[in-house]
């Protein structure tokens, strides 16, 4: 193990390995949720810029500069969270971040290279603010950008670093932790962890997966077969296959099965502006058949990333039920 990794892991050891407490798992999960919130906000920013460029909006240069600023701010927050979750990737992540900071500064100060704009635009870019917006969008998510990466591409890298970072340390160590903490569900093959309550103290009563006060979990399990275990009774002799870390409106679902790499993250609060579903899966998982329409799926050599942000209260319920059927039906 390199000095670098040792340094980082030593530091993180203090948090996660001090005593194997549920609390540390909870805090890291909450940190991961924050990371996703920041990611969502970032995607929203990019979408907002696109919308303003397409529609008949009236805006000024200040809007574009703010947009660029906000993107860098969010990116910084994402990268920071990523470093906490996957410290071994820290150097690389900050290097990437710094490159984008420089690109942003150049855009704002006007030193940016012209880039590949103009040709495919249908709107006449006579006004400088519109030109700036167009350049900014190209930096954010321009297609065929051969020279340097886009913000979007960088984001995806960050995502994968994070997933890789949290996976190995979690699985085996956590199993032991969960088994001793009374968080096994009685009705299904799940560990259910209440992110806030269990962090404070391990639960006294056993809990059920279906009965738990978590909105997304309820929807996910709506049509699921009761008792994923082969025995069919509540008494599952086999180890649980899933970890569900929850709050009233949030769910972080992770597969523990050795042959299924799958992770679902969702916020289902009923507020369309913040709700989301993010899914991470291994290369071999067939997401196209599992996920309903509306999901944006990205494939890379380390795995697959999918998300849906355009979620009204009804849509998110339906999506979750759909996915649940696919996973547990």
């Amino acid at each position: 193990m390199s000095i670098l990794n040792k340094l980082k892991l030593d530091k993180l050891k203090k948090i996660t390995h001090r005593e194997p407490e549920i609390r540390d798992f909870c805090i890291q999960t909450i940190r991961f949720k924050k990371f996703l919130e920041n990611a969502r906000a970032m995607l929203d920013l990019i979408e907002d810029g696109r919308e303003k460029a397409l529609g008949e909006y009236i805006f000024d240069r200040h809007y574009v500069v703010s947009l660029i600023d906000s993107v860098i701010e969010r990116l910084g927050m994402m990268v920071y969270d990523a470093c906490v979750l996957a410290p071994q990737s820290g150097v690389e992540l900050y290097a990437g971040y710094d490159r984008h900071k420089l690109a942003a500064a150049n855009l704002i100060s006007g030193k940016s290279p012209a880039g590949k704009t103009g040709a495919s635009e249908t709107v006449t870019l006579t006004e400088p603010e519109y030109q700036l917006l167009s350049d900014a969008l190209f930096w954010l998510n321009g297609k065929d950008r051969a020279d340097a990466e886009t913000v979007m591409a960088f984001m995806k890298q960050v995502f994968f670093h994070v997933i890789q970072g949290i996976e190995p340390t979690d699985a085996a160590k956590n199993r032991l932790l969960f088994d001793t903490s009374n968080v096994k569900a009685t009705d299904m093959n799940f560990y259910i962890i209440d992110l806030w309550k269990d962090a404070l103290a391990p639960p006294e009563k056993k809990r059920t997966a279906r009965g738990f006060n978590c909105v997304p979990l309820k929807h996910l399990l709506m049509d699921a077969d009761c008792g994923e275990s082969k025995t069919g009774t509540g008494n599952s002799s086999s180890d649980p296959d899933w970890v569900a870390a929850v709050t009233e409106y949030q769910l972080s679902l992770n597969s523990l099965k050795p042959d299924l790499e799958f992770r679902l993250e969702t916020l289902a609060s009923g507020d369309a502006q913040s709700d989301f579903i993010f899914i991470f899966a291994g290369k071999s998982t067939n997401l196209d058949s599992l996920l309903p329409a509306g999901f944006h799926i990205e494939k890379a050599h380390y795995g697959q990333l999918a998300w849906d942000l355009d979620l009204s209260a009804k849509t998110i319920e339906d999506s979750l039920m759909n996915i649940g059927r696919g996973l547990f039906g």
Binding site: K52, G55, I58, Y63
Partner: protein, 126 residues
């Protein structure tokens, strides 16, 4: 429903605003005059008060709050709508407390402004 066309004045030192707002607002049959110079706008307003005044809050020569005060002094019934580029609470408070009808933050679609104007015209008529 009998609806008289509104007389709307738009004031913004950024040329693009008037350029884009004028045709958009005139679609519904209202009369729109756009100004880049606040003083000229006020002079025109003095000749003939408008029903609605849409003004940017931050301009170099004369700022939106001053325009708001002067417009209301001439014609108390005129509804003044403030366009703000920096949607800070402070500005909203000052504008509202000085009698502005509403404020709208850039970026906005002309149709958003249209809705505010409709609300304002309802109050004018009641």
């Amino acid at each position: 429903m009998s609806e008289q066309p509104l007389k709307i004045m738009v004031i913004d030192d950024e040329n693009i605003v008037g350029k884009r707002l004028k045709p958009a607002l005139e679609k519904t049959g209202d009369m729109v005059e756009a100004f880049e110079d606040g003083e000229k706008a006020l002079a025109r307003f003095n000749e003939e008060p408008f029903d609605i005044v849409v003004t940017d809050i931050r301009m170099d020569k004369i700022d939106g709050i001053e325009i708001l005060e002067k417009v209301l002094a001439i014609s108390g019934r005129t509804k003044v709508i403030i366009i703000t580029g920096y949607a800070t609470i402070e500005i909203a408070r000052e504008a509202l407390s000085k009698g502005a009808f509403e404020f709208i933050a850039k970026p906005f679609k002309p149709s958003d402004l249209r809705m505010i104007i409709e609300r304002a015209s309802k109050e004018l008529r009641s």
